[in-house]
Every structure is written in C-alpha cells, then in structure tokens.
C-alpha cells in the first residue's frame, strides 16, 4: 500500500479523474445523442445537454421498428432461461463432484478440466451441424439448451462445495433428509454468494453474446438484441440518433443488473479469476 505522501494525493486524483472522464464521456455522449434530433447531431452544435430534447428516437425504434420489442423479449427470455439452467445444473454437478462418490466421478472431473481448456471456437461448427440435424436452428431451444451448462462454473461450484462444512450435511442426514432434500434445503441457501456471482456472469454473457446467435439465427424475428442492433446499424447507417437510442435500450438492463449486484460481480471476477 502506498504511503499517503502529501504531494502524491493530488497526482493520484488527477490520474483517477482523467481516467474517469475517459470512461464516462463516450457513454454520456451516446446517452445525450439518443435524446437529440439528427439535425442537432449533424450540425455540430452539440454540447452534452441536448438543445432540443426529444423522445422521438425512442418512439421511432419501438414504433417504426416493430421487431425491436421482439428482440428485447428474445434477449430477456433466453438470458433468463440460460441463467436458471446454469444455476441448477452447474450447482448440482459441482456438488456431486465435491461430495458424492459415484462411478466415473474422476473421469467426469477430468472431462470438465479438458473442456475448460478447449476454446469455444472449436465447438462452433460441430454445434451448428448438430443443431441443424436436430432441426433446432432458428429456435429458442437452439439458443438455450447448448449453453445451459458451463464447465467453468461447474468447476467453480465444485471448489466452493469442497470447502463447505460437512457437519451441516451430516446433521441433515441424521434428520433423515435425502441427497436432494439436503441439497435444496440446506446446501443451496448457504451458497447464495457463489450463486449470485454465477448468475450475473451467465446473464451478462448471454445478454451480450453475439457470435452464437449470429451463427444459428437467420430469421429476424428470432434475433437477440446484439444481432438486432447490428441489423439496425445496417438499415439506419447514418441515423446516429436512432442507433444510439437503440444502443441505450440494450445497455440499460445490463447496467441496472450490474449496479444492483455490483458486490457479487466483483467477487465473482476475483473468484473465477484468481482461483483459475
């Protein structure tokens, strides 16, 4: 930890404030543009506060672009399903690996480690072909099912449960609870911080995912927001007011979740990060 030298403090503040400006200005600028008419953006008379404040850009994206609402729904629906699935499956698998001796326990563990090492690009093309042969291209199940388990978080949950006090479960066993009851009634409620961190990561990952939907979706009705936004950019190439309004609609939910769960998010970064 650095000493609090008198000359140092102002220097540190200058660094922090400069970087804060660098971080914040692009967002502030984009947000303000989403409330400006195009003429004001193009004219060059653009302060951060719109001279002619307008909601027309937001009306435009929802009314003139009827699919925008659908894309928003698709994104939310897929992200919620993927998150719930991951929470249940990764935790159960992680718990089983940490606690239950079942045949193939070791093999399964090494398979997970192996999968962790292989980058996602390898599985892209085969996954596409598998989804195609299942007839799942352009479908919700095609978007959801393949990403409903995640090797990284199975591993993380295993590490979490291995350090978990055994006594509680032994007490539960004495009370006559089975594996499933112990898991859902005793273990899971105590794993809330790990679950929260996982939920935020998976939700953000799904919400922001661009590549997978790009490959398996071709009907615009099925698009998620990142793809929709990309299409949108193509249609309204120089209508930066609309593009920025759409971008803000896409960013807002993620920001709200982040602001709300900030603590867990940062804990999750360090948990998955420094332990990997």
């Amino acid at each position: 930890m650095l000493e609090k030298a008198s000359w140092l403090t102002p220097v540190l503040y200058v660094i922090l404030i400069l970087y804060a400006i660098l971080t914040f200005v692009p967002f502030a600028w984009a947000l303000s543009a989403s409330f400006k008419p195009l003429s004001e953006i193009v004219s060059g008379a653009d302060g951060l506060i719109p001279q002619q404040f307008t909601l027309e850009n937001y009306q435009q994206i929802f009314i003139q672009e009827p699919l925008f609402g659908r894309w928003l729904f698709n994104s939310i629906f897929v992200a919620v399903c993927v998150t719930l699935g991951n929470l249940i499956f990764n935790s159960m698998a992680g718990y089983a690996l940490a606690r239950i001796r079942f045949p193939g326990n070791q093999i399964f563990f090494f398979l997970i480690l192996a999968v962790l090492m292989v980058p996602g690009q390898v599985t892209l093309i085969p996954t596409f072909l598998i989804l195609k042969s299942l007839g799942w291209l352009n479908s919700y199940q095609g978007l959801i099912v393949p990403s409903i388990v995640n090797a990284t978080f199975i591993f993380m949950m295993r590490q979490f449960f291995i350090n978990f006090p055994k006594e509680l479960e032994e007490a539960a066993a004495l009370d006559g609870l089975g594996y499933l009851e112990t898991f859902f009634q005793i273990v899971l409620p105590l794993a809330k911080p790990a679950l929260a961190a996982q939920a935020i990561f998976i939700f953000m990952g799904s919400w922001n995912n661009f590549l997978t939907p790009l490959l398996i979706l071709s009907e615009t009705e099925m698009f998620t927001l990142p793809l929709g936004l990309n299409t949108f950019k193509g249609q309204y190439i120089s209508y930066w007011n609309y593009i920025m309004a759409a971008s803000m609609m896409f960013t807002l939910p993620a920001l709200l979740i982040y602001a709300f769960f900030n603590r867990y998010f940062i804990r999750g970064v360090t948990f998955t990060g420094s332990k990997g």
């Binding site: 140092l8 060059g44 922001n208 420094s274």
Partner: protein, 279 residues
Amino acid sequence: MAPTFLIMGVFLLLPIFLAIILSFYRVQPLGDVSYTFRGWRNFWRMFSDERVRIALKNTVEYVAIVVPTQTLLALTLALVLNTQIKGKNFFRVLFFLPTVTSSAVLTLIFMWICNSNGLLNRFLAVLGLPTYNWLGDPSVALKAIMLMNIWATAPLFMVIYLAAMQDIPETLYEAATLDGASAWDKLIYITLPFLQPVTFFIIVMGIIGTFQLFDQSYIFSRGSGGPNNSTLTVVLLIYQYAFKNLDMGYAAALALMLALVIMIVTLIQRMWIQEENFN
C-alpha cells in the same frame, strides 16, 4: 447429474470430437450435409493460404499490443485505487462500466465517435489539428479496435489485481517502514514481486481473450474484415470460411489450429504456476 452429463456430452464433448473428424473432410452444409474425405489436405492448405497469413499477422499484432498495454493500465489503476484515497468505490464502479457493456454497443459508440463527423474529429478541429477519415483507413481501423478493447478489458484485470493486493501481509510494509523504505521502495521490493504470479495469470488470460477477437471486427467491418483485410482476425476468418464460403471442414481445421495455440499458452501457464507453488 444425468441431465448435466447428457447436455455436456451432446453440446461440449461430442462437438470437440466432431471438430477433429470434420477437419479431415470437405463439408458442404447446404441442404443435406455432404462429406468427402480429404485426409490432411485441409491442414496443408493453411500454409499456402494468403488470408490465413494476414489474419494471423493481424491477430498476433493485436495480442502483442493489447496484452502488455491493458496489463500495465490495470496494474496502474489498481495501485492508485489501493491507496487511502477517498471515493475509491465510486471510481471502481465507474471504471467497470465498459466491461459490463456489450461489445456490440461499445463498437457502435466507438464507430460513431470516430466517424468523419464524430466527436474525435470535432475535438481535433477545436484544437486546430487536421481531421481524418479514421474508419476508412486500413492502417487505423485495427488500432481503433485495440484502443477500445484495452479500455474495456483493463478494469476486469484491475479488479483481480486489487484482490491480490489484499493478500499482501501488512506486516511486510510495516517492517519496511521501520527500515526507512520509501513508498517507491515498497512498490519495487514488496508489491510488484508479490504480484508476479497474478501478473502472469493476467497476461495468459489476456492472450487467450485477445486471440479470440471476433465481435468488434465483425461489427466494424460488417463481417468482411475490411478495409483491405486490416481487421481480419483468425476467428473472423473461421466464420467466413464456415458460413460464407461454406467450407466447414477447412474452417474446423483452422479452429483446431487456434485451439492448439491457446492450449499451449494455457499449459505453459499451468506449468509455471505449479512451479511457483513448489518454490
């Protein structure tokens, strides 16, 4: 357990296995998928493929610039935020903003700032400097993506650094103070050596992440890798071969090559960190 195993089998293990098989075939995915055995030819083809060379060159250049820069920036920010300074929680939250924002949105905001009528050129004009067509210039396009990603990824590593700094025993600093060490001495002889394993980890994570660059290049160039192939990356090339040229076998071979590079980096990291533990 059973459903997890089933899904992992079908959507993680089977694809890895299939990827290896596909790379020896010519795969044509339209209508009924057709396969023709091609032996090692997909792999030989890479060596004479001009676009593979360009994509590799762009990707390596990207990794070589982005990884050291974002690591240094993350370290600097973490060091500053680890002092007894007021309002550090506010700064932590603020700095994290680009990390939670989707790459699609970030790319659009950056393209808007860099367009010929955008904020960057306005700013230059105010200073009396010449303005420029940033997005159309092949020599600038990749640099813009680099800047954007450094800016978006550094806070993530900053948080990992901050966590690691909490583990440095306070007694070390107290002892150093008694010995008359300056703040600079403490940084050089205590903090940085302590952070060495984390730094190595962050560099490896950085390399793995940057090798997989796709979204930004795709959105920036509308999938083409332009202008003049300047934003063509390995993953974008895999995408183009698989889904534009419909040559999935060759694309699978390219993906395996990328996986090999990434796995070698990961293995080096594992070995290194194990050695650290033994010492």
